[in-house]
């Protein structure tokens, strides 16, 4: 057992107790949710923190509230629980698919939505682009209160969040859009995706795209929207072949990340194909 004998794990019984422990622990303390990233730190040759605050026993972090205008998801909700909760809400097909196809069944029962969003170095997170295309916001809690920010903004600041702050919940607006999640793993299942394309569109009375959100994950180090493709899609009917052609012309804005699995250029090369699949799944 290759672990130093100076670490501790505190199981927080409440949100306030967790925030107190995180605040008092400072930079050497981190929240521990599903653990599917933290426990692999030795594989990545990264040091573990000296103290972890386990948040899995905090009831409000496991809550999923479906309201008329928003869905609120506690940060410790697992991928498996999220997929089950959203099954009957077709406007969240993109998120249901992301949560139910990532990794493998056992991991989906452990990995949390909050961990997926807060893990800075995990580029292949399925739920991040799904939530980006749904215009999600996040709420961050600390001893001093709560602050709400857009997910895009959160992704730029998450690596520099001050100690003592905890992603508490995700707020997703309900806009009745058609949504879809397209991913390309190297194997059929149980693998990290090479690239992810998530799409949310609303259509006007004649079937033309009125609004579009396209988010791309796993290609670059951080998932982001593909705004030029969004603008191109607006005003046109859903057409998979045409959209793929448009995507091919716009894909040069991405710089793919190299990894042992695939070279960066390949991640970019497959994007038009994923756009084609995504649009086709929406019924072009």
């Amino acid at each position: 057992m290759d672990t130093p004998a100076s670490r501790s794990v505190y199981v927080a019984p409440s949100l306030m107790a967790a925030l107190d422990a995180l605040d008092e622990g400072g930079a050497e303390t981190a929240p521990f949710a599903g653990g599917t990233w933290i426990m692999r730190a030795p594989i990545r040759h990264e040091p573990l923190k000296s103290r972890y605050v386990a948040i899995g026993k905090i009831p409000e972090l496991h809550a999923i509230k479906v309201e008329a205008d928003v869905v609120e998801v506690g940060a410790a909700v697992t991928h498996a629980a999220l997929a089950v909760a959203l099954t009957e809400l077709p406007e969240f097909d993109v998120l249901t698919a992301a949560a139910s196809r990532s990794a493998n069944p056992a991991i989906r029962g452990m990995a949390t939505i909050g961990g997926n969003l807060a893990t800075t170095a995990f580029a292949a997170a399925d739920c991040v682009p799904a939530l980006l295309c749904l215009d999600a916001e996040v709420e961050i809690a600390s001893r001093n209160g709560r602050e709400r920010t857009g997910l895009e903004q959160f992704l730029t600041m998450r690596s520099t969040l001050a100690p003592g702050r905890l992603l508490q919940r995700i707020i997703v607006p309900r806009r009745g859009r058609k949504t879809v999640h397209a991913r390309l793993p190297l194997r059929q299942a149980g693998d990290y995706p090479t690239a992810i394309v998530c799409l949310a569109v609303s259509l006007d009375d004649v079937g033309d795209v009125q609004t579009a959100r396209v988010a791309v994950g796993s290609v670059e180090p951080v998932a982001r929207r593909w705004e030029r493709l969004e603008a191109t899609l607006v005003g046109h009917p859903l057409n998979a072949a045409w959209a793929a052609e448009a995507a091919a012309g716009l894909a040069d804005e991405f710089t793919g990340r190299d990894s042992v699995e695939v070279p960066g250029w390949y991640r970019v090369r497959v994007l038009p194909g994923l756009v084609r699949r995504a649009i086709a799944a929406l019924g072009s």
Partner: protein
């Protein structure tokens, strides 16, 4: 102060560091060597155990957070020395392989048999997504699972 664990119905105490992966405590303190630490990333399934009845890669569970839960390893699946129906089907179908991945396969399939009696071939394949076999002997394992489901 030690960590209190319930493993295969036995109440055991570990003196390991709290963040130590459960698989290491099972093997090195309790000598339950069925679970194998292979990838240590939750991908291969060789360390799969049941935690409160759910298949869980024990490489990703810190031993401190295993306290208060019922842990069942492959050694605990054969009650009173008799094979459970899934194990018996695997033996009957000559599906038993080298032993690296196999304990994890047995754990995952035992859970499937208990929770999804109507499971199809595709359901079995999906349930084994997190169990990787380097012998690539999946088909006989799936046939054994179908047999176990059919005779349940």
């Amino acid at each position: 102060m030690g960590l209190s664990l319930t493993v295969n119905g036995d109440h055991l105490t570990s003196t390991a560091d709290p963040i130590t992966p459960l698989v290491d405590v099972l093997r090195e303190e309790f000598y339950l060597t069925g679970a194998k630490p292979v990838c240590r990333e939750g991908f291969c399934g060789a360390c799969m155990v049941l935690v409160n009845g759910n298949p869980t890669p024990s490489c990703l569970v810190p031993v401190a957070l295993a306290q208060g839960h019922d842990i069942c390893t492959v050694e605990g699946l054969a009650a009173n020395g008799g094979l459970n129906p899934m194990q018996a089907a695997l033996e009957a179908c000559d599906a038993v392989q080298c032993g690296m991945c196999f304990p994890g396969m047995v754990v995952s399939l035992t859970h499937l048999l208990a929770t999804r009696p109507e499971a199809t071939r595709d359901d079995i394949r999906a349930a084994l997504t997190g169990n990787i076999c380097r012998c690539t002997g999946y088909e006989r394992i799936i046939e054994a699972a179908l047999l176990a489901l059919a005779t349940k």
